[in-house]
């Protein structure tokens, strides 16, 4: 009888262990599950789990991972907020570096972000990463003072060469003057478009304006003034259209080239993970 009673008591014990919320929702298990979601790249759910844990027990590590989740989801503003809060924590160096990265990705001027205090690093590798990203931002901003020597000091030779070429392209962009394009088309319809390498449109402009000019002249000569005036109107329309179109074409050319260069630079930086060691962005086995 005693044994039965003892066994019954023992059998109740695990039920306390696995009571309603505890079994799968203990902080340790939630953390393990959140880490699993993070590694599965389900960042939205992972961030929710980390935030749930954070509300129970606040920790720098959880904030850091929440920031990482937002960074991976390209929600840079939120990621920046989390990394900003951690600047003076135990994960301060990593956070400062990732804060700089999010600022860079947000296309913000990072001059103010990389002040002297945030530039102090104990970890040499992180310090190098920080300086590299700063230089990349300077290159993107088209700063002439990007010192080639500084690039040689902070990057491998092959990367320094590539970055020098980018620095040159950003500080001296291959742009076309919209006013020059308009002027060229004023002198010869379509010439401005040809100047902006829009050859098809340029030649069409020249032919169409020339044709209508001829029809205008021909109808006047043949004594058809009404038709001649219609063609004169059309000539004027196409002539000024060509002038205005050339101005727009030059502006579009510049925007296109700028976007092309930005994409090329972004893609290069992305291939280098923005010079940031991959370990600090969450390690998954």
């Amino acid at each position: 009888m005693q044994t039965i009673f003892f066994l019954s008591l023992l059998s109740l014990f695990p039920s306390f262990l696995f009571s309603q919320d505890s079994a799968l929702f203990t902080p340790e298990k939630r953390k393990a599950f959140a880490d699993h979601l993070f590694c599965e790249k389900d960042y939205l759910r992972a961030s929710e789990e980390y935030e749930g844990l954070q509300s129970v027990n606040k920790s720098d590590s959880l904030s850091y991972y929440i920031g990482l989740c937002f960074l991976k989801m390209n929600d840079y503003e939120k990621a920046k907020d989390y990394f900003s809060q951690l600047k003076n924590s135990s994960l301060g160096e990593e956070s400062r570096l990732l804060f700089l990265k999010t600022s860079f990705l947000l296309n913000k001027n990072i001059e103010g972000e990389s002040d002297s205090s945030s530039n102090q690093f104990m970890n040499k590798e992180l310090k190098t990463s920080f300086r590299r990203l700063e230089l990349a931002a300077q290159i993107k901003a088209g700063m002439d003072q990007t010192n080639p020597l500084s690039l040689n000091n902070h990057f491998e030779e092959s990367d320094a060469q590539i970055l020098k070429s980018f620095a040159d392209k950003f500080s001296h962009p291959n742009s076309k003057s919209p006013f020059a394009a308009a002027l060229f088309s004023t002198l010869l319809p379509g010439a401005g478009k040809i100047y902006t390498k829009n050859y098809g449109d340029g030649i069409t402009s020249l032919i169409v304006t020339g044709l209508f000019t001829f029809l205008w002249y021909d109808n006047f000569r043949a004594g058809h003034p009404t038709r001649a005036w219609i063609f004169a109107g059309l000539t004027g329309f196409f002539y000024w259209g060509s002038v205005y179109g050339s101005y727009i074409s030059a502006r579009n050319y510049n925007l296109e080239k700028e976007e092309e260069l930005n994409n090329e630079f972004q893609s290069y930086l992305s291939s280098k993970n923005y010079f940031i060691p991959t370990e600090i962005e969450g390690s998954c086995k």
């Binding site: 799968l24 599950f33 001829f214």
Partner: protein, 277 residues
């Protein structure tokens, strides 16, 4: 010593039982979230269960639930990914068939016609699914229907008695649809006629008017020995309007057909009582 072993075995079995109970509870919880249409949360809880289900005993049910939730949320790629996992974890032929059909249904919705065709062919050759040939035929019909091939849909669905309603709907659509080549042909002979055939009367009349006017101006210029003017008006204006009339006739017929197709799919989605993707 004997009582110690008895106690040990008893404790282990009780603990396993409780762990099992927790997983079962978690599955019920995830399923209840799905029923409440809280698909995001249903996926989270099902993934939690999957993570802690070390023996993978719930693998089929959990992955099916995640896949179904993703499908309801319109995330078809993720749904196929998890249905594939469920397919791997299927415990019998019935579960395997069900999962394969779910994947096919999603692919039909994704308009992956050739992939579905290939998948149905593969299932048709599989001896395990020999008894389900009419079901395969039925989904093939749906695949044709989504591929805008109503003739083949009618032909395929006609072979299954239970799909008579769906077959009749397809036949109706077939009758309603406009012939693109006929619309274009009409506009070749008489500009604007193709547009009128597709019900775009204003566009048809305008097109006819422009072509008559510009044709007249071209002919008049040639008859007055102004060949260059005639060439310019004829090529730059008349020909342009004539070509525009042809492309308009084609565009309107295609648009009308697309509208008929979309209306039918919408009707089927809302009102059709039988199985649907």
């Amino acid at each position: 010593m004997k009582s110690f072993w008895l106690l040990f075995i008893f404790l282990i079995s009780v603990e396993t039982g409780f762990a099992q109970l927790q997983l079962e509870k978690q599955l019920t919880f995830a399923e209840s979230l799905f029923v409440q249409e809280k698909y995001f949360d249903a996926i989270t809880e099902a993934k939690r269960l999957s993570f802690f289900d070390i023996t993978s005993q719930y693998s089929f049910r959990v992955n099916s639930l995640i896949a179904e939730s993703y499908r309801q949320g319109g995330k078809f790629s993720e749904a196929v990914h998890y249905f594939t996992k469920a397919e791997i974890a299927a415990n019998n032929v019935k579960e395997l068939f069900k999962t394969k059909i779910e994947i096919i249904k999603i692919n039909i919705l994704r308009r992956a016609f050739y992939l579905v065709d290939h998948q149905l062919d593969d299932m048709g050759k599989d001896a395990r699914f020999a008894a389900d040939s009419s079901s395969l035929q039925y989904w093939r019909g749906w695949n044709y229907l989504f591929h805008d091939d109503w003739e083949k849909a009618v032909e395929t669905l006609g072979k299954i008695d239970s799909a008579a309603t769906l077959k009749n709907i397809c036949e109706e659509v077939q009758k309603k649809k406009y012939s693109v080549s006929f619309a274009k042909g009409l506009s070749v002979v008489l500009p604007g006629a193709g547009q009128i055939y597709t019900g775009n009367y204003v566009s048809g009349v305008l097109s006819l008017g422009w072509n008559v006017l510009l044709g007249y101006l071209t002919v008049q210029a040639f008859s007055a020995d102004r060949a260059f003017d005639g060439m310019a008006i004829g090529t730059l204006l008349w020909l342009r309007f004539y070509n525009g009339n042809l492309s308009n006739a084609e565009k309107f017929a295609v648009e009308k057909n697309e509208l008929i197709k979309n209306e039918t799919l919408d009707y089927l989605q809302k009102n059709y009582q039988g199985l649907k993707p």
